[in-house]
Amino acid sequence: MALTCESLLEYFGSRLGVDTAGVDESTPLFSSNLLDSFSMVDLIMFIEKEGEITMDAWDVTLDNLDSIGRILQLVEMKKAG
């Protein structure tokens, strides 16, 4: 299963218990307080597994993870690179 906007929304809703109504690709996730920092470790494991990439410490930044669009962009970049 590939990582998509839909699969991330499904994950936020079912796994992290977030109300995803009105959340789109550009909605800030952490800086808006929608997700808390403790969810980040879980989110990173989800991205690595579903996106089939390995993130290093330099990839794990708020800017790379703060919206669905940015997460997908990071995954694409890692796959291309």
């Binding site: 109300d19 109504a21 009105g22 909605t27 800030p28 952490f30 800086s31 808006s32 307080n33 808390d36 920092s37 403790f38 980040m40 470790v41 879980d42 494991m45 410490a57 330099w58 990839d59 794990v60 930044t61 708020l62 800017d63 703060d66 919206s67 940015r70």
Partner: protein, 573 residues
Amino acid sequence: MSVLTLYDQLQEQVRSRPDKIAVVHCQGAGRVRRVTFAELGGMARKFAASLAVGWAYSPANSHNTKSPVGEYAHPAQSMGGYAHPSVIPIFMGKSPACIAAMFGAIGAGSAFACLNRKLRPPQINAILGATGPGVAITDGPGATVLAAGLNADSPTARMRWWVVEDEAMLPAQRKAVEQMRAAREAEYWSEVQTQTRAGSPCHEHNPCRIVGCCLFTSGSTGRPKGVLIAESDLRARAAAEIECFGITADDVLLNVLPFSFDVGLNQVLTAILAGCTIVLLDSWLPADIIRATGEFKVTGISAVPAIWSDMLAAGLSFDPAGAGQSLRYLTISGGDMAPQHLQRMPALAGKAGIFKTYGQTEAFRATSLRPEEFAARTQSVGRPFGSARIYIVRENGSRCEPNEQGEIVHTGLGTMLGYLDADDPQSKLRPNPFRASDDPADVAIFTGDLGWFDEQGYLYVKGRRDEMLKVAGNRVYPQEVVAHLLALGGIAAAEVVGVKSESNETTLVAFVVLASGAAHSAADIRRQLANRVSSYMVPREVVILPAMPRTASGKPDRPALLERAKVLLQGGT
């Protein structure tokens, strides 16, 4: 001689350096907002003026306004005869507006209380029940939390909420504000009527006698404790930090800790009083901290051990020729750091000096270990700071000899005024038993921490008195077991808790986070540990976690771990 309050000192900075950048706010998604001292001071002026008027909104004239701290009168009591509390709760993310609201509250003669934005409605209601009704300030993310927990009888509903808008407010956040507006509980701050007053309203009062802020900690009963700090002490703490860390207007400080936590709060007050720039970063990720340090040429960072442990685990450091070029100092504040991690800190810090500090919410920053002392006394937390005094006291109240362990008692700089609930049964505040010509303080804080001084007067902290465990008749401090676990290698973080059974037997449970690439099993860890320590120190259970749960201030969430350990021992999962 007239005393300049924090608010007055911000306005002094507006006069002397109006165009200098006071705050750099990293808003996420690459957005950065810069605010000058003139802009910050202007915002604070508007808050001060609107808060002074805002008292008229206070709905509950009958609220109990018993002064919790003796001669420290609630400062606004005399204004217009309104009976109201003087604490302004601020429930918002770190931002220039949040800083302006804090200073504005002081300017209006009130105390501010920054509530951590990770709090949820039950905790917020408990806190607001203690502060009483009145004006409170929030933002879009805060409003969504408040609106979700709103019901007519809750303390949240008895507040008059001012919502500070942000151009990036999400539709869900606007909806939450509309919901609160419909219930007549909120309005946008931009709509709040202000009245220009000459000078700062708090000049009507003696600024030496006003409460500056209220910090909330969760007491051991789980009920929030409001710790009241004098405005004069906030100033003295900032002045002491400026002196200790050698801060000038040329510094750029990186703020990663919340303002609801004493170390984060003191850092922002220090920056404003020193006239330097503070960078607000809402991330504890190692790569974010290093990038921000390089991008904004940061010179000083105050952080808790967990932040540095994460950076060590990620294998990142401040490159003296790169991102760490400007970095002059960093601090390890607000808790223990395991010896194995402390030894690796100089390599992480690069050219920056390392300050270790020790203190509590009730007794801020009692001691500090200077960078030049770090190598020789890595385990110490240093010597008393500013005019703070530290005594080590035996159970019978007499003073300990050097190298003799006892309770750490703090007087002078940094001691609280008292609790918001004046009758708190677990008060750490007592009359100063060592009052003398060289220590004129009236009160002392009995910290509940155990420690000792060496012959040269350096303090070593053993742990909390109430954390000492008796396992099969042996004294065990959880931190000792943690140190042995980390020494095994392959373990990035560890915490140990003791679960007491009904028969008063204590069972140890360890929680560990493995270093990247490590593949120990729980059984391996127990076996290896058993080769190093006495059998009573080997935890019955070792639980491997993906990450350590943390409190809002970045400390390990030991109450949550203890709960988990209890469930585990009862046969749950």
